[in-house]
Symmetry: D2
Amino acid sequence: MNRTYRRVVAVMGGSICTPHQAEMARAVGRLLAERGAVVICGGMTGVMEAVADGARSAGGLTIGILPGASAQESPPNPHIEVALFTGLREGRNYLIASACEGAIAIGGGYGTLSEIALALRMGKPIVLVDTWEFHLRGETIEVPTATTAEEAVETLWQMMEGRR
Amino acid sequence: MNRTYRRVVAVMGGSICTPHQAEMARAVGRLLAERGAVVICGGMTGVMEAVADGARSAGGLTIGILPGASAQESPPNPHIEVALFTGLREGRNYLIASACEGAIAIGGGYGTLSEIALALRMGKPIVLVDTWEFHLRGETIEVPTATTAEEAVETLWQMMEGRR
Amino acid sequence: MNRTYRRVVAVMGGSICTPHQAEMARAVGRLLAERGAVVICGGMTGVMEAVADGARSAGGLTIGILPGASAQESPPNPHIEVALFTGLREGRNYLIASACEGAIAIGGGYGTLSEIALALRMGKPIVLVDTWEFHLRGETIEVPTATTAEEAVETLWQMMEGRR
Amino acid sequence: MNRTYRRVVAVMGGSICTPHQAEMARAVGRLLAERGAVVICGGMTGVMEAVADGARSAGGLTIGILPGASAQESPPNPHIEVALFTGLREGRNYLIASACEGAIAIGGGYGTLSEIALALRMGKPIVLVDTWEFHLRGETIEVPTATTAEEAVETLWQMMEGRR
């Protein structure tokens, strides 16, 4: 396919995160931007802010898919270049999973878990970093994980390339 | 609150399920209907069909929140009395979590996991039955579980009553 | 088609309406309920309240597709039997248009205009009663209108039957 | 407000349009890009393609909010730089109205009418160009119109500035 539009990668993660998760998110954002991907996220604080910071610092484009209908309701973090106010609240989690070509999830929160599950439900490539573990009794769920930003981005990249 | 509308309970579960899960779903549907709750679900096969079957058999009202825009796209199971075709695909998972006062999740699938996570994110009472287990490293996540239909419905009922 | 689920008709209309529009909505609700249709609407005041009142008075089932995530945010009118809180705000207008088999629009407001347009966009049968007129320069737009509740319901019924 | 994110303007319009509407859309896209606005649209053909073409030709950023869940379902036009596949079908019309700070509507179609109505419902600044006329009996609806691209963009700009 001779695609004319840019690759869009979602980085999912909570509005509260550990320093290590923020550091990982920042590095992931930078690496994604260096590879030319557009980074979408929920646009708020925590992992969302760190990944946007990293992507912008490398000259990347960052798009925030915000839950509120305005900046008053859901202020974008200062590293979001394009803020799309959806007014859909947690319904915007679906949108993030749907709009991306692939995703990296970092850290916790039920919102992040819902995004991971929706991405998997849609068959999107996803890599998990220091986030939820989940399983059905007696079944092994095989979702790729990574322990470094480089590994996360490289793994995701190969998964996305493999399905083009 | 002098509420004029009926209690709405969501039963979440996959389109494929084990005989045991179907049996549980059928019993949960029947018990919810006997308590006067409206049962909403994804409207399709598996757990969704079994719970609707149980609820209808006890004279309950069953509403299916379908992913497709028509019956051709997403045929409702024969026990759905009101089929709402959303055209939102997996976005309808958000809707099920948002529209209910409380939820019971039975069995597996990533769609079910997303619904559980969304309900938890919104602070909705939820009881888990033979479904996903999930945790963050080193953290204990306390979501009520049940092993019988009676226990699931009674536990959920108490949680819903506790917050009115 | 041997359909197992009930016919769902949307009645669209503003939260503020004239006494005449309320009277029309009440009569439309009653007639729809008498024909066995489930009535869905936005669940709030004005036309939405009047149509629900009419439908309930005739023993019909009324479902409100509310914009807010809770009764605190968007209180359902007292004639709504099943309140589905979407949290989607005006996005719920799309849902009403998508979920119905056919629609009747009564009275004004931009929300109503959006619902009419969405229903027409999806090819749904719709009848207009004392509501918006719209046209493109030089083009005639032919959407059925009615001046009485009986005419509105009968016209819609024939349109819906014609496409089954 | 010391806003850190870019101004987002929606251009609404049908997938089929006249040569004059396409010319207008192209000029509007170019002018919006020259003023630094990000242009969002439905991402498909007709007005959506022309406005994206104009914006890109002036170095602007173009974002397509697509109805389908993939490029197979809803191929973006070649001037869309960032394609967000929503899978929400016509529900994406709501999203376009919600996500923009202001809008310009050009040409016809019920989808466009729904977007105009939703933007007005949300109180968004909007300018109409060679598109729907609508009114309630006996009431005058005052929505700004324009006959040239320059007038449309300048009028919208003033409306947006007036409310910051």
